[in-house]
Amino acid sequence: MKIPPNFKYIRTYTLDEYYEKANQTSLPLIISGGTVAVLMLKNRLIRPEAVIDISQIPELNVLKINKDDVFIGANMKLYKLKNVLPNDSASELIVKSASTVGDIAIRSMGSVGGNVCLGDPSNDLPVALTAIDAQAVIGKKDDITYLPITNFYIKPFKTVLNKGEILLGVNYKMLNGYRTSYKKHFINFLDHYVGIVAAIAKIEENAIKDFKMAIGGEAVGKPVKFDLSEFSNVDEIKIIKERIFDYVNTMHIENNRFGTANYKKKVLYTLISRAIDEVLKL
């Protein structure tokens, strides 16, 4: 049977307590919702000296809706997002993304932090957050850093977080009057997504005012961002698609158990095309 190895369990109630315990522990594992951590423990992929439960830390349980931006604490449960986030378009894209994670039971347990920090190319939030230029808010003792989410990921399953550091949450600017699209393609066998695409765009007076897209998934690795700045003076959907397809063509995509490079590329083209149509077609 899959049974976790033995570990000490430490429940922390404040950030300072967390920093103290994390630095005292040689190999700590953070647990918030647990859908990621408990599975890793059951698979004995990690044998932590201590599991540090951060689910009670108030700073991680907050949602701050300010005038221009939003801060979602890392402990926020995925299913809650649709009820608590504001009505702007950036939030809408996050909600679209979060509501496709697993199933209802997974979303009721899983946290934003878990979905952001694992670094699995098949995770949903990182792609949506990349599209809206969100920032990872990283805490360590006496210090808070705001890091663009694209810089948060080094490679699959590796983020910049060091021992003693913690993802406090994510921060993003609200966007108004944009259209959003979130598309992904699942390979049943293998629990993974070949491709994930998040897009957000603003049309004003029949012209493209702004366009942002991020792609992720197993075929891509850490999320890649595309921006309107690359397309200034271009307002033809066809050309935008071609530009992004060209980029996909330069990507090193492997034949592996998830599919052939040809199939994966076709998946990405299709998802990108559908997402662009959804946010730009008049």
Binding site: M1, K2, R44, F189, D191, R257, K265, K266
Partner: protein, 670 residues
């Protein structure tokens, strides 16, 4: 008596993991992490070397007279598949048992794993003393020299598929006072009893096997696996109850998968659509060890390759071959879906070549009267059935949706017959059947038969779980047999009880209910062509966004003979259809280049979730009664026979590329 599943909603089921005894030991099996290797060192736990041979046969005596290598209880000197049991540890605490399992040291000298049928045929034998990897070979039918105008060949392949019942395997063995009592999730308490008796050298009279509530099986819970032997052996040694519950990971690596069959076929016919003959090779990958079932699988597939058709010339060479994979077992259908897939795909190839409607070609090749295939298969004429079915499923409309069609037969595994026992006790009629229900809802036909013969209301009747101490002899539930054989035995037992009752003046059902009468009946049965049912299946596919193939609709027009229970039948059909569909799309047991199974979770095996379910349109009919008292035919495996070829064809119609390998190669969509 309440509806059977009511107790599960109250949490009052009795599945094998629900059973606890004081001082119970939890067994953990330590398994090979290599697909092919010499065992240099195994340190820790119970190993092949530390088995007390006075208590257990390691396979040699069981092997006597067999032409194949039987799986040993624990690997000795070599491991031949990833997941093969190497050592066994136990503890009173199940968490500690897992920790203990990690302390077992195994070191290997790796050998090259043989992982495909092709490699198997061209590689050194994986079993010492054999000249090659061919377990057995057969010829079915008769060689012929065709002079047909049309000759078409193709190679077809169905990847291995895991049964994956929702409840994994499990056993509790308790040896005390000279008796071995076994509680087990199973399809046949008799299979288990006979196997344990033979391997442990125990007198059958000293073994009692009790079927716990069983959460599905689909073929995986009939064999006597090493873990069952080890648990029983350890209980004999320690005199304590020993529990072993399979983890899903273990099910994926070590429970017997099914399918794994390849066919290289040639179809011969004229230019008008009349098939002259079919010939070729059928090869089955039986894994690292064989048994009677897996070694004869190619001949069983070859035997029924002609399906419902009248094909005068058939010659099939069958080979079963060893590979470094888990031993093959039956998986819902067990040879029938393979035969149907192979034949139906060849007929579509032939019809396409001639530019004829695939349904017309099929109808044209059905017999006008009883037909005996060169393989010995006897089938009744079925043209009226299929013509009726084509209308009933509105083929004309389905054609516009590019539907794929399949014709098929279901041959029930009636051989061996079945037994039944009825005991009236405290105002309740208790029934035991030799075949142990494990998802089929047999209680529904049991209640009906008792009502029909004895007039006793359904809520006073309960189907008990399998139990060798209540019903001494029996066979098992598999191969779509139970309605026919168990239903028949129950009918006879009920008639015998009625006779007994009348002899002592009890004529009214109420009087019988207040009695303490009992009766038992066993009869062997031979396959009669009237028992073979006919299956018409149609599937409508869609390639969503050009990248995701799905089956949107599945239509079934199935012959069930006299339906004993409509509710049971409907569920059996839809369940089978979904399994058949999923086997085409995503469900398969693949392994990596080292022979390690790729799926690490249940979802990764590609099984169907609710969102994968197509729209079902199921129509059942009685195309003649079977020649048993009750007239029923088998139905359990029908969906898995009909759905794969229909689904493969439906997708083929959309992508305009030949689909001859399952699961679907996604690269065909590019």
């Amino acid at each position: 008596m309440s509806e059977r599943t009511e107790k599960f909603f109250k949490g009052k089921g009795s599945f094998v993991d629900d059973i606890t005894f004081p001082d119970m030991l939890y067994l953990e099996i330590v398994r090979s992490r290599k697909a092919h290797a010499k065992l240099l060192k195994v340190k820790g736990g119970l190993t092949a070397d530390s088995l007390d041979l006075t208590l257990i046969s390691t396979g040699e005596s069981y092997r006597k007279g067999k032409n194949y290598e039987v799986e040993p209880v624990l690997a000795k000197e070599k491991v031949l598949y990833y997941g093969q049991p190497v050592s066994a540890v136990y503890d009173k605490d199940k968490y500690k048992a897992k920790d203990l399992a990690e302390t077992v040291e195994i070191s290997y000298e790796e050998l090259k794993p043989i992982l495909t049928i092709e490699d198997s045929l061209s590689s050194k034998p994986i079993h010492d003393g054999r000249k090659d990897n061919i377990v057995s070979s057969f010829e079915v039918g008769k060689k012929f020299s065709p002079e047909s105008k049309i000759k078409l060949s193709d190679e077809l392949f169905m990847e291995r598929v895991l049964p994956n019942p929702l409840e994994t395997r499990g056993i509790v063995a308790f040896y005390n006072s000279g008796k071995l009592n076994v509680w087990i999730s199973t399809q046949s308490v008799y299979s288990i009893k006979n196997g344990l008796s033979r391997i442990l050298g125990l007198n059958p009279a000293d073994i009692n096997v009790y079927q716990t509530d069983t959460g599905g099986a689909f073929g995986s819970k009939s064999a006597v696996y090493p873990e069952y032997v080890i648990a029983s052996y350890l209980s004999i040694k320690t005199k304590k109850p020993v529990k072993w519950i399979e983890s899903r990971e273990e099910h994926i690596s070590s429970t017997r998968p099914g399918r794994g069959a390849k066919a290289q076929l040639k179809i011969y016919g004229d230019e008008k659509g009349k098939i002259d003959g079919i010939e070729g090779k059928i090869l089955v990958d039986v894994g690292a060890y064989a048994d009677d079932l897996s070694s004869t699988s190619p001949s069983w597939i070859g035997y029924q390759i002609t399906g419902p058709y009248m094909i005068e010339n058939v010659f099939i060479e069958g080979y079963s071959v060893y590979t470094n994979k888990a031993p093959l077992g039956p998986y819902r259908g067990a040879g029938r879906p393979e035969a149907a897939f192979f034949m139906e795909r060849m007929i579509d190839l032939y019809a396409d070549h001639l530019g004829l409607d695939p349904v017309d070609v099929r109808l044209k090749n059905l017999p006008e009267k009883e037909f005996i295939s060169p393989t010995g298969l006897k089938v009744l004429p079925s043209k009226a059935f299929f013509e009726d079915g084509i209308k009933k499923i509105n083929y004309a409309e389905l054609k516009k949706k590019n539907a794929g069609i399949s014709f098929g037969i279901l041959i029930p595994a009636v051989y061996g017959g079945e037994s039944a026992k009825i005991k009236v006790e405290n105002g309740t009629v208790k029934v035991w059947l030799g075949g142990n229900a494990h998802w089929q809802r047999h209680e529904l036909f049991v209640k009906r038969i008792i009502k029909e013969v004895l007039g006793i209301p359904e809520d006073k009747v309960v189907l008990m779980n399998g139990n060798t101490s209540e019903l001494e002899k029996g066979i098992g539930t598999w191969g779509s047999r139970s309605a026919i054989v168990a239903g028949y035995a129950l009918y006879k037992a009920a008639l015998a009880l009625k006779e007994k009752a009348e002899k002592i003046g009890l004529k009214e059902p109420q009087q019988v209910l207040s009695s303490d009468l009992s009766s038992e009946y066993y009869e062997n049965m031979q396959l009669d062509p009237s028992m073979i049912s006919f299956l018409l299946t149609a599937a409508v596919a869609e390639i969503e966004d050009g990248i995701k193939p799905v089956i949107k609709e599945i239509w079934a027009y199935y012959d069930v003979g006299e339906p004993l229970s409509l509710e049971a039948i409907y569920g059996q059909i839809t369940g089978g259809l979904l399994m058949g569909v999923q086997e085409v799309l995503t469900e398969a047991l693949k392994c990596d280049e080292n022979g390690k199974p790729i799926p690490e979770t249940l979802s990764a095996t590609g099984i169907a979730y609710s969102i994968n379910a197509p729209k079902y349109d199921v129509q059942i009919t009685s195309f003649g009664r079977s020649n048993t008292l009750h007239g029923a035919k088998g139905v359990g495996e029908a969906g898995t026979i009909g759905a794969p070829p229909a689904s493969a064809r439906a997708i083929e119609n959309l992508i305009k590329k030949r689909v001859n390998r399952l699961p679907l190669n996604l690269d065909l969509l590019t």
